[in-house]
């Protein structure tokens, strides 16, 4: 066991963790932040994407001990200070970019990382970036649309189906 200290969604947390505890376990079981989901065991699905020091990371690929001293953000930290949905979250609701909601936290976290580095991505860039996030419900159509809209691009021509 080792003691780790990190900032999670702006709050400092300190906990004893086993050396082999994954970040997903630490967040879900240790901190009860169950918005980070586990959809596979081969780091393919992306339901567990979080931000560590501002970078998108699949939490299932990281030991909790590796996050010692880091600044961590999860889906629970993505809303505005007043509790309202953030821009990306709101775009997902506006454009029906989610159905069962299971892949959604990872999608939102990936989208946020994409838009930080590439504020006006093309559609092809959005689709390419989502290579590591699998959704089985939406066919990605409305996810792509939501991310384009969240970047301030007009998707109304294609929204008029």
């Amino acid at each position: 066991m080792a003691k780790v200290t990190m900032t999670v969604n702006g709050k400092t947390v300190s906990k004893e963790v086993a050396g082999n505890a994954l970040m997903t376990d630490f967040l879900r079981d240790g901190l009860r932040l169950t918005g980070t989901h586990v959809g596979c065991d081969t780091s393919q699905c992306g339901a567990c994407v979080i931000h560590v020091n501002g970078e998108a990371v699949k939490a299932c690929t990281m030991f909790a001990a590796e996050a010692d001293g880091a600044e961590v953000k999860t889906i629970e930290g993505m809303a505005n200070a007043d509790g309202s949905l953030g821009v990306i979250q709101q775009a997902f609701q506006d454009h029906h970019g989610l159905q069962c909601g299971f892949c959604t936290p990872g999608m939102v976290m990936s989208a946020a990382a994409l838009l930080k580095d590439n504020p006006k991505p093309t559609e092809a860039e959005v689709r390419d970036y989502l290579e590591g996030n699998i959704c089985r419900c939406t066919g990605y159509h409305n996810i792509v649309k939501a991310i384009m809209a969240a970047s301030g691009q007009d998707v109304t021509p294609v929204a008029a189906e």
């Binding site: 586990v38 699905c45 889906i75 029906h96 989610l98 909601g101 299971f102 066919g139």
Partner: protein, 790 residues
């Protein structure tokens, strides 16, 4: 101006807020104080005789509570099958035992042998490695046609052979169908495979069993599409727990697509073990485990023949299908290749004679059951592929050939038992042609060819039977359950409403769409109405969500219950207004005496119901809560026409979807935004089947595609771009036999799209001079390239 309230409004989904903020409550998010964890030791061979399971060393490992094996379940019922098919000779299907944990033999990779319950998952997993297994590996049967040869290895020693049933439908049409083929001017024949698929909802299955010895009650939290069905099957048939002592909760469920309908061994185990140990027991499937324990889908091998007369009218269809059941019968498996498949073989066409033969076969593979569309994609794929091939052989336009044979008058009695109540296949075909721009295709093909690519246009029509189903009919067909649904509308004193529904939402947006219906009927705001679902202790009863049935069946129950509410509320209002009940009208949440300005508000009436100081107590009871059960009188028949354009790279065989359009007729629509989302998702799964996904076994029954590294799930860049993709539902012929005129939309995309894509691929290859009349799914670059080489 689009509506923003009530039926027809694209209201944003209220459930999204919790999903977008990480506040959803999925089954794995539920932890019960003091819970233990179970790890299942599963067979790594496809077929084997268990000589010995020595758990002594493992049981002494740290943290181990207890290790269970098949011996602990000898007195417990096996997993039941919910549908008994009768074969063409009138005999019942073979129905082998399906133990919770293997007894004597293992029959597929993933078959659970032992269950280790420990304080932590890690301790359970470590102990499982210490279990000493002595298993003699036996030859496995994987290929269906080999499995039914005389002398083939038997999956179940107590059965005569591996043939579950040999079903003929309609047996009375067989001779006339043969005759029609003899007299045909042209016969087109096609052999094809509808490959094995894995549903892959993104949330793996989870079960948490809990037991309260104070009142002898068991609770199962589970990732299910139908908690009451699980309560019924597990309580009555497996564990012998009476319903009033068994609560089944399916909270937020992360997708289902059919594979979360069924009752699984892990659910029964966790419930059983929690009672045996007086301790909560939790199981969370890994994705690898899901691949070898979730029921798979499809897996048909078919030969279809289409007979035409000299004028190109369809005169008969004849099919022979081998349908894989896997090693055991999953809950609804026998119904999928029969009643959900043979009954759709008329398609959208007035073919007078149809004969369908299905041989269901046991093999040493994971059980196969319903996956999005369930039987209807298989029917559509073979019919629409053989029609396309016939058009090519006859040198006629595939659209014209379809149009010529369309059913145009309704109701229409098909030769395969079902009666289509309504439809307009010409309208959806017109809409599809307009959207895909058939006239512009030659120019687009020329452009592709300039870039060294082959371009193909594929079209497809489909019909499905949804809104499952009339109970008396399905009872005659072998269903061991009724298929009605139920709803309770509970109006509170302040006028707010909880609607308890038997349908279960695992992505479909019921929490948003269902209130739109009640709000429309009562003239109040949706924000006053909440939907409660997924907990057998809170809802009256319900058969759950599958087969595009939620709004058509459960929605109808909700309408009936709301009508009862309105009737009673009008009685209360007429008392308050001192008017005749016949004169009281409900509009915009106000009860008004017709022709006067006398009115009382919705809230006044609901308050009077619960504070009955001025109330007709001698005539009606206080309170305002009504329940309705609704049993449909027919299936519903959504239908549509799809088209797609693909490019094939002749150097590599790679196929890309360049344009895709769907024109669906779902009857009336409650929330267009949600409907379009359902179609997008269905089409993505259909494109996945057509181009990417394949659940593969080797000849020894080893599962080759058991992770996302081997099983190709569609990614965002496999699907058509926004500007080249349209889904339309403007053609609407309302269902004639349910109160909302709705048909259901959940499966259409998965049914309509696979043949659309393959028709386009074949068209592209033919345009390049390649004599290819079929490519099996998935049309991977390797397969397409091989087909091009002849």
């Amino acid at each position: 101006m689009p509506k923003d309230h009530g039926i027809g409004a694209s209201q944003k989904r209220r459930e999204d807020v919790r999903f977008l903020t990480g506040a959803g409550q999925y089954t794995d998010d539920i932890n019960v104080h003091g819970q233990a964890y179970v790890y299942f030791l599963r067979s790594d061979v496809a077929h084997g005789k268990i000589n010995k399971i020595d758990t002594a060393a493992a049981a002494a490992m740290p943290g181990v509570e207890r290790i269970f094996t098949g011996a602990d379940f000898e007195g417990v019922g096996g997993l039941p099958c919910g549908w008994q098919v009768t074969d063409k000779h009138g005999n019942p299907m073979k129905e082998p035992a399906h133990p919770v944990l293997a007894q004597g033999k293992v029959r597929h990779v993933g078959d659970p042998i032992a269950a280790v319950v420990a304080d932590s998952l890690e301790e359970a997993r470590n102990a499982a490695e210490a279990i000493e297994l002595d298993i003699d590996e036996l030859p496995a049967v994987v290929d269906m046609k080999a499995a039914v040869q005389p002398g083939a290895t038997k999956v179940h020693d107590d059965l005569d052979d591996n043939l579950c049933y040999d079903w003929g439908f309609v047996e009375a049409n067989k001779a006339a169908t043969e005759e029609a083929f003899k007299n045909a001017a042209h016969v087109t024949t096609l052999e094809l495979v509808n490959q094995r698929m894995v549903a892959n909802p993104m949330e793996p299955r989870v079960a948490v069993g809990d037991y309260n010895r104070a009142n002898d009650e068991s609770t199962l939290y589970t990732t299910s599409q139908n908690p009451h069905v699980i309560r019924l099957l597990m309580g009555a048939f497996v564990l012998g727990i009476p319903e009033h002592k068994l609560r089944v909760v399916a909270p937020d469920v992360g997708g289902g697509f059919g594979t979360k309908i069924f009752h699984y061994a892990e659910e029964a185990f966790c419930t059983f073990a929690a009672r045996a140990l007086n301790r909560p027991v939790k199981w969370t499937s890994s994705r690898s485990e899901a691949f070898m324990s979730d029921a798979h889908g499809r897996d048909h091998v078919t030969r279809i023949e289409l007979a035409l007369d000299a004028d190109n009218n369809f005169t008969a269809v004849r099919t022979e299908t081998y349908a894989n059941m896997g090693a055991y019968l999953s809950t609804f498996a026998p119904s999928v290749p029969t009643w959900l498949h043979g009954t759709l073989m008329a398609g959208n066409y007035k073919t007078p004679l149809v004969y369908v033969n299905v041989k269901a076969v046991f093999t040493n593979t994971v059980p196969v059951d319903a996956y999005r569309g369930a039987g209807r994609p298989e029917a559509t794929f073979q019919l629409e592929r053989v029609i396309d091939k016939a058009a090519r052989e006859l040198g006629v336009d595939p659209i014209a050939l379809r149009r010529q044979n369309f059913i145009t008058e309704f109701p229409y009695q098909t030769p395969v038992a079902v009666v289509y109540d309504t439809g307009d296949y010409v309208a959806t075909m017109d809409k599809m042609e307009e959207m895909i721009d058939v006239a512009g295709f030659p120019a687009r093909r020329a452009e592709s060819e300039k870039n060294g690519k082959l371009r193909g246009l594929g079209v497809n029509c489909f019909i499905e039977a949804c809104g499952i189903a009339p109970s008396n009919l399905v009872g005659q067909l072998g269903a061991r359950a009724g298929l009605y649904d139920a709803a309770t509308v509970r109006v509170n004193a302040t006028g707010t409403i909880s609607v308890m529904v038997g349908a279960h939402s695992h992505g479909q947006g019921h929490e948003t769409a269902f209130p739109q219906v009640v709000a429309e009927m009562l003239g109040i705001d949706e924000s006053m109405i909440d939907i409660v679902h997924g907990d057998s202790s809170k809802i009256p009863f319900g058969m759950g969500t599958y087969g595009s049935r939620s709004i058509a069946v459960c929605g109808s129950a909700m309408v009936r219950a709301t009508e009862k509410i309105i009737n009673k509320a009008k009685k209360i209002a007429s008392h308050l207004l001192e008017a005749s009940e016949a004169d009281v009208e409900l509009k915009d949440g106000q009860f008004t005496v017709a022709g006067t300005d006398k009115s009382v508000a919705w809230g006044d009436v609901t308050l009077a119901a619960y504070v009955p100081h001025n109330y007709p107590l001698e005539e009606i009871e206080p309170g305002l809560e009504e329940t309705a059960f609704y049993d449909p009188s027919n299936f519903t028949y959504p239908a549509g026409a799809y088209a797609c354009e693909v490019e094939v790279d002749p150097d590599t065989g790679k196929v890309t979807i360049e344009r895709f359009v769907s024109a669906d007729d779902f009857g009336n629509i409650i929330n267009p935004m949600i409907v379009e989302g359902q179609v997008h998702g269905g089409i993505a799964q259909g494109i996945g089947q057509a181009l990417l996904e394949n659940c593969a076994y080797d000849e020894n029954g080893q599962l080759l595609s058991a992770s996302y590294m081997d099983y190709a799930m569609p990614r965002a860049d496999n699907l058509p771009h926004l500007a080249n993709y349209r889904v339309d539902h403007s053609c609407q012929t309302p269902c004639t036999h349910n109160p909302l005129g709705v048909k259901g939309c959940g499966e259409a995309g998965a049914i309509g799209s696979p043949p659309t894509v393959i028709n386009a691929v074949v068209d592209a290859l033919q345009s390049g001079g390649y004599k290819v009349d079929h490519v099996d799914m998935p049309a991977t670059p390797a397969r397409v390239w091989a087909a091009m080489q002849g």
